[in-house]
């Protein structure tokens, strides 16, 4: 087993990995940029190494600095988390060539799945169903011909892409040229690779993915599905497992396809095979494989009853994965809501600022993975994910009720969040009835079937009264009784502090 692991990431996922290391008795090295000097992940690790400027390419995306930090701190492995360099095959290779262990799949597996065009070809070979489409096209005319063949609407997307970047939906031919141009430029900017592929756009599709997990000795299983169809800007905000749409038979088929997909690239460690699922035809198509830990891995941990991050580390250290497929069963139901610093009323664009209040809900069946606290600064440099709110309960109904209650209790002041928005989504009958496809948020907002305000509550009035009274009550002596009941952990020093305010 490793003695020390460097975590090449930040925020909640760095903290998640630190916890796993601690429980395994492994020392941790955090890394941080200038913007993260006072972040929680820095304080929680056993050591911390400063990388440089806030800009990701000077810090969390700088492979050389990360490997240097690992060597200097005598770490013997690097966990990349998700995002940043986690799916960068060259980084994985560089880590290994520095005689460090990369906690993830092999560079070859990452490379094979990183290219959307090549991976699609490999999947077809392995007998995994793929979305009708074409790869390797170059001229606009080729694209036009292919689009006509496939039938509009089509999707053009970056061969090297991911996370909705370099992806355009095209509903008719006259939009095609501009879509190709903008997707290409975004692809080039984001991935340094302008190749695109084209495929049928499935309008009413659900996004259902399968967690796979394998060791370096050829054992590989799937850990069931995650339904991730609640998306905005092609990015997930709410995930759940089990998917209410899958019958045991389809689940079995998709699980087998996921295992076949992973085996086709000699996969080991944690990975996710994403499918597009058509609920009317009950048919599914390979979308892509994420060759890393997923943001939404906690719901799988709860329902499959296994600590994925601990096992990532153990597998990377060479341990055998002792469980066969039939060891796993789905226990209860889990839902994750991603609390983002973003403004739904402003096109879900990010919101930045200092957190004036940050109260996480607590209680049985509630898990919060977060990297923020009161006073934290939410900057524009990184992903605006504030927290992952995860609930687990005996069935979907109870889990949904638990999530609604927990979201109501989550208080964030200082940045605009999507908490109220997610409450509105969960309240909607389409969510209760599992009719939420990946395009649902967009169309529900357009058509007005999604109301952001709960009309039953006279909230505006109470908000105004509370805001106005706070100025009176908190400033006047009226709050004294409460204040005098408070104890400061440092009362003798408090006075001194005050002089400096």
């Amino acid at each position: 087993m490793f003695n020390k692991i460097l975590i090449a990431n930040r925020g909640e996922i760095a903290i998640r990995i630190i916890r796993a290391c601690r429980e395994l008795g492994i020392q941790t090295v955090a890394v941080y940029s200038e913007a993260d000097e006072d972040s929680m992940h820095v304080h929680l690790a056993d050591e911390a190494v400063f990388l440089g400027d806030a800009a990701p390419k000077e810090s969390y995306l700088n492979a050389d600095k990360l490997i240097r930090a690992a060597l200097d701190s005598k770490a013997d492995a690097i966990h990349p988390g998700y995002g940043f360099l986690s799916e960068n095959a060259s980084f994985a290779a560089a880590v290994e060539s520095a005689h460090l262990t990369f906690i993830g799949p092999s560079a070859d597996s990452i490379r094979a799945m990183g290219d959307k065009a090549e991976s699609k070809i490999a999947m077809k070979k392995a007998g995994v169903p793929t979305v009708p489409g074409l790869e390797g096209l170059e001229s606009d005319d080729d694209f036009k011909k292919a689009a006509k063949e496939i039938g509009y609407p089509v999707l053009v997307k970056a061969a090297a892409g991911g996370g909705g970047k370099g992806m355009r939906v095209v509903s008719e031919e006259k939009e095609l040229t501009e879509a190709i141009e903008s997707a290409r430029s975004e692809a080039l900017n984001s991935f340094g690779d302008e190749r695109l592929l084209i495929e049928k756009y499935l309008a009413n599709a659900h996004h259902i993915e399968f967690q796979v997990f394998g060791d370096k000795h050829g054992n590989l299983v799937h850990l069931f599905e995650r339904e991730c169809s609640v998306q905005r800007r092609h990015q997930k905000i709410i995930e759940e497992t089990p998917s209410p749409l899958l019958t045991p038979e389809i689940r079995e088929q998709m699980g087998q396809a996921a295992v076949a997909a992973a085996k086709a690239v000699n996969y080991y460690n944690a990975g996710t095979v994403e499918f597009i699922f058509d609920p009317i035809l009950s048919s599914f198509f390979f979308l892509e494989m994420n060759t890393r830990l997923q943001v939404e891995h906690p719901i799988t941990e709860l329902v499959a009853g296994i600590d994925l991050v601990q096992w990532q580390i153990r597998i990377a250290a060479g341990e055998k994965f002792p469980f066969a497929q039939n060891h796993f069963h789905q226990h209860g139901h889990a839902i994750e809501c991603r609390v983002y610093a973003e403004d739904p009323a402003n096109g879900f664009l990010p919101s930045t600022g200092r957190l004036l209040q940050f109260i996480e809900p607590r209680g049985p069946g509630i898990r919060v993975d977060s990297g923020f606290t009161v006073g934290s600064q939410v900057t524009h440099f990184y992903d605006p994910l504030l927290a992952k709110l995860i609930v687990h309960a005996e069935n979907r109904e109870v889990a949904l009720q638990r999530m609604k209650t927990a979201l109501q209790e989550f208080v964030v002041h200082g940045v605009v969040t999507n908490i109220d928005f997610m409450q509105a989504v969960l309240r909607h009958e389409d969510f209760a009835n599992s009719r939420v496809s990946t395009r649902w948020v967009e169309s529900a907002l357009e058509s007005g079937i999604l109301l952001l305000e709960n009309p039953q509550q006279a909230v505006g009035f109470h908000h105004l009264i509370a805001a106005a009274l706070a100025d009176v009550v908190f400033v006047s002596g009226k709050a004294q009784s409460a204040v005098s009941n408070e104890t400061d952990p440092f009362n003798p020093w408090r006075k001194t502090d005050n002089y400096r305010v």
Partner: protein, 158 residues
């Protein structure tokens, strides 16, 4: 005492142990059951209904959460304020971030929908496009510059 948030004015007057709160010509009695300034929490009895509120303050802004719903209110002088989204002829930053590229200069003639500059924040790229045909009157930002949300980026002449 009168306070105005955005465009709504609310009046608060002590009335015995309670407060008389007037809004939109309607007056209700509010009792403060508990106030915890340190945690920014108040329990109120508004017209007989128990209401728990979290309130935070940041200069003129007030963040209020009641029943799981959060509002951001801005304390104003009471006069109607020009909303900066409507800034005539100007293009404002829809989010805080960094200017990635600038494609036009002062005096350039641009067409509706033309990309004038691109911004980046939190892994996202945003294109600032001309809302209509026109001429660039002023550029307030340059490549690499960090901008706040609602900062004016470019001024246009119709």
């Amino acid at each position: 005492m009168k306070t105005t948030f955005d465009t709504q004015t609310i009046e608060i007057n002590p009335s015995g142990d309670n407060y008389a709160v007037t809004l939109d010509g309607k007056t209700v009695s509010v009792q403060v059951l508990r106030a915890d300034a340190k945690r920014g929490r108040m329990d109120l009895l508004i017209d007989g209904q128990r209401v728990s509120a979290h309130v935070s303050s940041d200069l003129a802004k007030r963040w209020v959460t009641v029943d799981g719903r959060t509002s951001m209110l801005t304390k104003t002088s009471g006069a109607k304020q020009g909303v900066r989204h409507d800034y005539a002829g100007g293009l404002i930053a829809p989010m805080p971030g960094q200017v990635r590229s600038v494609s036009v200069g002062v005096g350039d003639v641009v067409k509706k929908g033309q990309t004038l500059l691109t911004m980046e924040a939190m892994k996202m790229e945003i294109r600032i496009q001309a809302l209509k045909d026109g001429v660039v009157k002023a550029m307030y930002v340059s490549q690499g510059q960090t901008v706040e949300r609602e900062q004016i980026l470019i001024e246009m002449e119709a």
